[in-house]
């Protein structure tokens, strides 16, 4: 036994014990956590010394017992942390303890070393890893038959959560429409639901909404874009260092692809899904923790397994038990060549092998073939042994619907749930039903728990959360935009990506649209001697007045640029991809000229070339919608200039009549083109998920998807409020919306008001509200009055919150 070896003089220099009673949790635990646990806790025991429990602490290590209760000056730990003995200073790593901290430790020791039994610094067992079959308790009259409610019955009893009537129809319907489809029920839909007398109408509504495949996909696109870091513009695209997975994602959502198949396709990707693993390839040198393979390891662990490997990408993690070597072993799976391990960005000369994050779930064959490795890791991730995969998604969806996960934070899935059996049961049920995401949603949303009235949340994460129902939540940026769009009839006029919007449609309609695709083709030799390497495909037409709406789907076989009435519209577009363009801002009454400038300056004279375009234009004037396609009246001229203004005289232009069938035009993805045409014919307007972020979306917390985003902050900020008060985006929307509403209700302002209320808030105005509104509209008529009325509705907490 070696006791403290400080001399009496040195003991005099010790910081005095702190005054007052010491609280272990508040005063001592943080010190031990930050300064000692890294080497003496969480499975480590440097010098044979563990601080897992009070007994371990007292027992000490190779140097003897660490402390003598009641005698801090004579305790080894105090000697070492005081720094007075230069041969024995603790901690070895990190900041030395301050005199105040030493004083707290002294007081704690002198006061008998109180240590609540439940606090431990031992390595935490991993929760939520292995699958676990559990049976819910039998139904009771209060719980009803639903397994989720049966699980919660005991919990409610234990935590004093009183039974409560379910949320009323109007409130609940609004909630469920927003949660499933991201839109509000129309007044007619809502009244029909309220009037429905069937006892199972809520179940039926959930099922019916989930079958609206297109709108479901449009809404959930944003959730998955955040999670899978998918965006339409942004870092990495400029030089091919990033790839979208939008088309794949839309298809997966519209067809309700089972989740395990989605995961396998993301981990062992077909070309349209490889963007996720690819990550962002940054130009220039990046920190070794951010190479694409390391990004892949971090993103795969976070997204599918709910754990954070970012800390363990530079060094062994301080906040959990993941190691640097472990992260590299996972990254190697995705890397072409095994990576050299860099610690804090410095090379170590070592390499890790190949390993999955949790060896207990399975091992990987050390294969030099990346394809094989991806296949293996995809199989391992989705194997029935991996109980973490389903739980992670269950938890994310629970957090979406209830405002807070069963495990919180949602990226800390190693931590226990506040109801482990409920989480386990939901996960097993999910797996048993083939990883059917809509089934999982149905299960959650048909429970009484989901029907409980919304709960007022707390501003800060609370230490002692008790579940009482869904928290009051807030409309997302996309929902805010979309619901206002639905109420007013205003939406976006062109989407950023093009996807297969035909997929949810019946096959007759698909065929019909494919037949609407026609292609104009021209083949000849271009003479570079005369420098005429650009081909301009031109269409003219006369309009009586500027159209209310005008959009086009355009594509060409080489890169091209759009000109309308002599002005360039947008950037140069890549070859082959159909693009939906909003023409309306550029058209006018009278003659309009649309031109596609196709081609680029060749390096050397071409022998033969062909130029080909596919174009389809939709115009809405005076209430009539009509289409222009590539069938007639297009002209062609060649010129060696990028400049519209210097084109040869019109007399030189030739009428073009060489049409190709779309199948002859092998460059065109006619399915994609037809899908874009369909989206215009069917809807003409696009929801917020389809466009790149604008200032309003950013203000409302749509994230920059350079990092994975598993949850958006929902709290209002002053900058948001400023943007809402006078930002251009919202003003334009409201102005246009007011015009649309005015056109719909030209002589019936009270009907307008009632309709807006019933759509936006799901109810009629109260007598008090009517009084205020009538008084307001007496003075404020016309479009402006409606605009400001709409704004006020949009700013009501009742509108912005999801109750």
């Amino acid at each position: 036994m070696v006791w403290a070896a400080l001399s009496p003089e040195q003991r005099q220099q010790l910081p005095p014990p702190a005054a007052g009673k010491v609280d272990f949790t508040k005063d001592i635990q943080p010190i031990l956590q930050i300064s000692c646990a890294q080497c003496h806790g969480r499975g480590k025991d440097k010098g044979g010394f563990k601080i897992d429990t009070r007994e371990d602490f007292l027992r000490g290590g190779d140097s003897g017992p660490a402390a003598r209760p009641g005698d801090s000056a004579g305790s080894l730990v105090i000697e070492m942390v005081s720094g007075l003995d230069p041969d024995n200073i603790m901690p070895k790593k990190g900041k030395r303890l301050t005199p105040q901290q030493v004083g707290l430790l002294r007081a704690w020791i002198d006061q008998g070393m109180e240590w609540p039994k439940e606090i431990t610094f031992a390595r935490q067992p991993l929760h939520n890893l292995h699958p676990r079959r559990v049976e819910p308790p039998p139904p009771t009259p209060r719980s009803g038959a639903h397994p989720v409610d049966r699980w919660l019955e005991d919990y409610y009893a234990k935590h004093g959560v009183a039974p409560v009537a379910v949320a009323p129809d109007r409130v609940w319907a609004r909630r469920v429409y927003l949660d499933v489809l991201g839109v509000l029920p129309t007044p007619e839909e809502l009244e029909a639901f309220v009037a429905d007398r069937r006892s199972d109408k809520r179940v039926r509504l959930v099922q019916r909404l989930l079958q609206d495949n297109h709108r479901y996909a449009e809404h959930w696109l944003s959730f998955w874009n955040d999670l899978l870091r998918n965006d339409y513009k942004g870092t990495g695209y400029i030089d091919g260092g990033r790839k979208q997975i939008t088309a794949w994602l839309y298809s997966a959502l519209v067809t309700n692809m089972p989740y395990d198949r989605m995961v396998r396709q993301l981990l062992n990707p077909p070309p349209e899904a490889e963007g996720f693993l690819k990550g962002i390839v940054w130009r220039g040198a990046v920190n070794s923790s951010q190479t694409p393979a390391m990004q892949a390891a971090q993103n795969v662990s976070q997204v599918f397994m709910g754990v954070n490997l970012k800390c363990a990408s530079c060094h062994d993690s301080f906040i959990n038990d993941y190691t640097l070597a472990g992260t590299y072993a996972l990254a190697n799976v995705f890397s072409e060549e095994p990576l050299e391990i860099f610690e804090c960005d410095k090379p170590t000369g070592r390499k890790a092998g190949y390993a999955f994050l949790y060896p207990e779930l399975g091992t990987l064959t050390p294969s030099t073939n990346r394809q094989e490795r991806l296949r293996e890791v995809a199989a391992l991730m989705t194997s029935e042994r991996n109980g973490r995969l389903p739980r992670t998604l269950v938890n994310r969806l629970w957090a979406r619907f209830f405002g807070r996960g069963l495990v919180e934070p949602v990226d800390d899935m190693d931590a226990p749930a506040w109801h482990p059996e409920l989480l386990d049961w939901l996960a097993e049920d999910f797996v048993a039903h083939g990883y059917d995401i809509k089934h999982l949603m149905t299960t959650i949303m048909t429970s009484r728990a989901y029907q409980r009235p919304a709960v007022a949340g707390a501003e800060a994460p609370e230490a002692h959360y008790v579940f009482r129902g869904p928290l009051v939540r807030r409309l997302t940026a996309e929902q805010f935009r979309d619901v206002l769009g639905e109420i007013t009839g205003v939406g976006y006029t062109s989407p950023q990506p093009t996807v297969d919007w035909l997929l949810p449609e019946p096959s007759e309609l698909q065929t019909q649209r494919l037949q609407q695709v026609t292609v104009l083709q021209w083949t000849n030799t271009l003479e570079t001697a005369t420098n005429r390497w650009m081909s301009w495909f031109v269409r003219e037409w006369v309009l009586a007045s500027p159209p209310a709406e005008a959009q086009a789907v355009l594509a060409a076989n080489v890169e091209w640029k759009l000109y309308i009435n002599g002005k360039a519209v947008g950037d140069t577009r890549p070859a082959a991809t159909p693009v939906v363009v909003d023409l309306a801002p550029h058209l006018r009454g009278g003659l309009n000229v649309l031109a596609m400038r196709v081609g680029k300056k060749p390096e050397k004279p071409p022998v033969e070339t062909n130029r080909s375009v596919a174009a389809w234009v939709r115009l809405k004037t005076e209430g009539t919608v009509w289409a222009l396609d590539t069938k007639r009246e297009w002209k062609l001229v060649h010129a060696g200039t990028n400049d519209w203004g210097s084109l040869p005289a019109v007399e030189e232009w030739q009428m073009l009549s060489t049409h190709a069938t779309s199948s002859e035009a092998r460059w065109l993805n006619e399915r994609q083109f037809a899908a874009a045409v369909h989206s215009l014919e069917r809807w003409g307007r696009y929801r917020a998920a389809w466009v790149a972020a604008d200032s309003l979306a950013v203000a409302l917390n749509r994230p920059n998807r350079e990092q994975v985003c598993t949850g958006r902050p929902s709290q209002a900020t002053t900058l948001q409020a400023l943007e809402l008060a006078n930002g251009k985006a919202l003003s334009a929307l409201l102005r246009q919306g007011a015009e649309e509403l005015k056109a719909r209700f030209p002589h019936a302002p009270e009907t307008l008001i009632r309709t807006v209320y019933r759509h936006a808030l799901g109810r009629a105005p109260t007598a008090g509200e009517w009084a205020v509104i009538r008084e307001y509209f007496k003075e404020n008529k016309g479009r402006e009055g409606i605009e400001d009325f709409l704004w006020s509705i949009a700013m009501l907490p009742e509108f912005q919150m999801i109750y």
Partner: protein, 505 residues
Amino acid sequence: MWSSLIQTSRRDFLKTTSAAVLGALAAGFPRRLDGGDTPKIEPAADRLIILWMAGGMAHTETFDPKRYTPFEKGIKPADVLSTFPSIPTAVDGIRFSAGLENMAKVMDRGTLIRSYTAGDLGFILHSRHQYQWHTGYAPPQTVAAPHLGAVIARTLGPLNPALPAFINIGQRFDVGEGEELKAFTTAGFLGSEYGPFNIPFPEQAARAIQPPEGMTPGRFQNRERFYRRLLARNPVMQHGSEYQRESLLRAVDNAHRLLQSPAAKAFDLSLEPESSLRQYTGGITDLSKISEAKQTRDGTYEKSTVGRFGLGCLLARRLAEAGARFIEVTTEYIPFLNWDTHENGHEKLVHMKQAIDAPIARLILDLEERGLLDRTLVVLASEFSRDSLVEGKPEKKVKDQVDVPDTINDIKHYGMHRHFTDAGCVLLWGGGVKKGYLHGLTAEERPCKTLRDRVVIEDLHATIYYLMGISPQLAYEVEKRPFYVTRDGLGQPIQAIMAKPVRAA
């Protein structure tokens, strides 16, 4: 229906919050990690203005002139160090490049650093280098790193509570490389409450705090009144209290307060006396003439940008007077325009120096005249410098991005066109820096690299933070780990340029 709309654990009835302080969030997440034992730093400055010379400002053509070689057909790029002669300044021993006569007169109000060196990041990219300059970290990071302004907004809060703590002037978001630019103009993980209040066009700044375009102030007030009345009658509001709703109303109140406050007048440049306005705009007094700039390469853009930066400086002065905490004014990075001279370096620098010279000097003098300069720190900087031959650093060259001919026969090849990271100029005036002081030395002959007193970004940030009263070792907790305001907490304030000694932290 309403009484059962939400469940609360207490029977609270809502009181409409009206006395909330702008930007003050009680919870303060992410958590601030103070040493606890860190001694409080006495700030030397209450306001910070960053004058951002985006695009790579050539040091030998601005504040660190070298031997002048006039243009002549047949000269070699290797012989050209400066394309302008030098001029004296108010400080003996410091000379500037011709074209900066006004700024030369106020050199005695501040410090010039000539030895700022930037990272190379493997390949010189404006987006990444601007990100690194503004956040202190090279991208990519595993979390969204906050802009210097956001850190200050979060740590110090606003000065005048009626003004957003972080104001960003002159930066448009639909130019350049798209999202890459926006990646650093963000509060990152600190949360959007601390994000920038953006004013891309200073001449239209008044609009930012006015009713939406087309709405008269009368109508705006009317709308607000109607909204409040409707809110008061709203049945949901009568039942229970709930933090989401309260934070929305508080935000709306704060926004409304900003829009109504006298401080909002600071945004309105038309209120500035013409004689003063003229000094910032090179004589143009009709603001509508400084139109929305169109991105072209024929010089018309630069001409309208000229006025725009000057107006940005004026706006910054007015906002500083009104009590804004952090303001950045950028000349704006547009690929191949402004300071990003890939060709025609000499001619473009004539414009650029014209754009900045009078306004910046006037800004400094105006602040001084109003007694604000001592407590306002003004910093001029760029993401890296330029040279006619070296890309990167002499000992550590990176991939060339610009073709440089062996001889110069056309004026378009006359200038500093490559990206040079081994030297760079930073100017600091006011708040706690030495007056008339020169820090760092660069070589007189090519390569004109740093010879002494190298300054790196974390130390520059540490200096700025320290002068604002913030510890360079301050960290915020994100995803359970500390994120330091200077890179990994390593920043050390540069003692030599500070008027008062740094107290050991």
